[in-house]
Point group: none
Chain length 420, copies 2
């Protein structure tokens, strides 16, 4: 079964609103095994809506429409649907009752415009809207299904979950779609493609692979479609097992995992605590760690040592080390990690220093040059990176690399062996 989504609204076409509705619907349809083949965003004009209904009706089995159902004159979707289905508007008593109840609850006066919300095309089934006044409209024409819903996200979501999906689930199911994403870090898209090209060539035809790179992370998405859900899941799991043997050092998670979540789970499992000493990342590492609910169980705090004064005074980085090696150096990263570990008394600590840019770079240390050190129980790990990117992305990449290095350090228990 194939679906089209039609999003109606001027706010989407001037970029004032990002189309989160379509993404949410597409992802939900996907879980039902329904493939979204196209998303169309158009303005609230009669002719445009008719054209989109016609085109999508030719290509898809299910057409989901959001927006344009409001009470004001600029909302014409209901009238366009009447034309398309050669239908007349009639009062739906249940919806009228809902509208009256809605305003009674709010203690507001009901206008004629509000009452008109209960006018429903006679060929449609009305879908009740507990959070607003515009009902949804369900049309069945032959084997094709058209559903119009309000554009307000929480009204639309409630309607999809409780009214549209229960109806769609009763339709004969033709296939399942199973996705699994493998998250990698520390290797570029092309190098990764090279490393796994043999595996990619051997993938069964029913499994599709996509590369989704984003600032230091490459997501590998495997998709399988077919009749037997368990079989598809097993096929994907088998392929991932093979992949794991090829690039074990780059895989750090699956699906919706984030590095900060993975680090949190790991630290909690070891009953270990963390502190950070940040220069170039300016608090971004602490911020993403503490974006995780419950992070206070393992994260104790951080020193953002943006000036050298703070590095010396609070982290015990000596003036000699700063002078001899520069603020962006392995020695300073190590001293920062050790300094914050001692000061705050955590089991692990991250020390990070680099040149975020746009200024401050040199031939020897260009913008993006970053040193990261991880202080563990009895061990210090340090590594140099060059992200060669702009300020915003250097900060994000540096933060992700620090969490990845921390995770490797904690996982491989490198910290249990004495420093080489």
């Amino acid at each position: 079964m194939r679906a089209c989504i039609i999003s109606i609204g001027e706010e989407l076409l001037i970029g004032q609103t990002v189309n989160t509705n379509a993404a949410w619907i597409a992802s939900s349809l996907n879980e039902l095994g329904i493939e979204t083949i196209e998303i169309i965003v158009i303005t609230d004009k009669h002719g445009e809506i008719l054209r989109a209904l016609r085109e999508c009706g030719e290509r898809a089995d299910i057409i989901l429409i959001t927006g344009g159902l409001g009470p004001t004159r600029d909302d014409v979707t209901k009238h366009a649907l009447c034309d398309f289905f050669d239908s007349q508007l009639v009062i739906d008593q249940q919806i009228l009752e809902d509208v009256l109840q809605y305003f009674k609850k709010l203690g507001r006066h009901v206008t004629d415009l509000n009452r008109e919300q209960a006018l429903v095309p006679d060929k449609a089934e009305a879908l009740r809207n507990p959070y607003g006044t515009a009902p949804g409209l369900w049309f069945k024409e032959g084997e094709k299904i058209f559903v119009a819903m309000p554009g307000v996200p929480y009204e639309m979501k409630e309607m999809v979950k409780n009214q549209v999906f229960p109806r769609l689930r009763k339709l004969p199911r033709q296939q399942y779609i199973v996705h699994k994403s493998v998250l990698t870090q520390g290797i570029g898209e092309s190098a990764l493609a090279d490393k796994i090209s043999g595996w990619e060539d051997d993938l069964p035809k029913a499994i599709q692979l996509a590369y989704l790179p984003s600032m230091g992370i490459v997501k590998l998405r495997l998709t399988a479609k077919g009749q037997n859900k368990e079989q598809l899941e097993e096929d994907i799991a088998n392929q991932i097992s093979k992949l794991k043997t090829l690039i074990p050092e780059y895989i750090w998670g699956y699906d919706d995992d984030t590095l900060e979540k993975a680090v949190g789970v790991l630290l909690k499992s070891q009953n270990a605590t963390l502190a950070t000493a940040e220069s170039c990342t300016g608090g971004h590492i602490a911020h993403i760690i503490t974006s995780i609910p419950g992070s206070s169980a393992y994260f104790k705090g951080s020193i953002i040592a943006y000036s050298n004064d703070v590095k010396m005074q609070l982290l015990n980085v000596t003036a000699n080390v700063l002078e001899d090696h520069g603020a962006v150096s392995e020695q300073v990263a190590i001293a920062m990690a050790q300094g914050v570990k001692n000061l705050i008394g955590s089991d692990y600590a991250i020390g990070i220093t680099g040149i975020a840019g746009p200024d401050g770079g040199s031939a020897e240390k260009p913008v993006g040059t970053t040193w990261i050190a991880i202080a563990g129980k009895n061990k210090m790990v340090s590594r140099k990176y060059n992200f060669a990117d702009n300020r915003e992305r250097n900060i994000i990449r540096a933060s992700r690399s620090a969490l990845a290095l921390l995770k490797t350090t904690v996982m491989t228990r490198l910290d249990l062996s004495p420093r080489a």
Copy 2:
């Protein structure tokens, strides 16, 4: 001039990625006076791409395409464009040089797949990509313009700003669209609408007003369309002058201003320095301050005191104060601000403590309760907030409120009077 945007990518159709690219492009086109009439999202398949190119080419003057230009096998857009324009792939020496330089800078090996990025349809002009390896492609067919760009947002944005828009600006222009946004903080959308309703009623018909609320900030966008750009700009400026007299205390900036930028300009103008002591915001304030290039001129550093230990040990918050008033209290916020100001030796300091959630709330102090203190030269300002939102949004709102309170404190020079 009318534009269509074609977004290519399976990740958009399964709802894994929200289509922020299309919203950003639509909003940018709008500023150029180009109307987006349709956004189409399709999958990375030859036939689908050809159909979208054909349909959009019939309806619009400018067709902007993103995605599907990567080096891996799942990316077929370049080949579809070759078919559509009856074009052959040839090596572009400049792009090849760019690709080689890109990998040299990263210190990575260049693969054959990477080199193939320099293959460009002979009927296209290649647009260089400083942040990646996939070049953009500019086609002109009669009066119609087709531009293909990478789907990675920062690569696409750079290309649009520095290469696509300069070319589009040279095209004959039919009308101007002038936007100006007024940024407010500290007042909700409805209260603001009440306060300025008289002004809104008196707006000339040619000027449209939109309220764009986002996490504690309400943006008022004024839009005027017409032939005479200077006149439109003057009309909008006049309306903004009137608005300023109505709500001077809530306006803090215009258009792309950010609170962190405004705070930076202000601190620099006073040659003053800043430090922060953060609990609930977990480094987010330091992060947004240091997202501004050159912030090291006024930002010295921060203590992220996520645990009470750190609050006591580094910030001199006493066990008594913590016990008597709780970690989320005016007294603790003040002690944190004073503590970090003393420790780091800055002119101003922010102390912030709150309950980000989802856990940790109580009847007396629900999730979102936050105390912010600003320590100035001879003055301490403190204020209580309740954001009553989810964790992510509580953190952002708290950070913005802290910067707004800092800005007011520095601007009104409250700090020069002795503490009341």
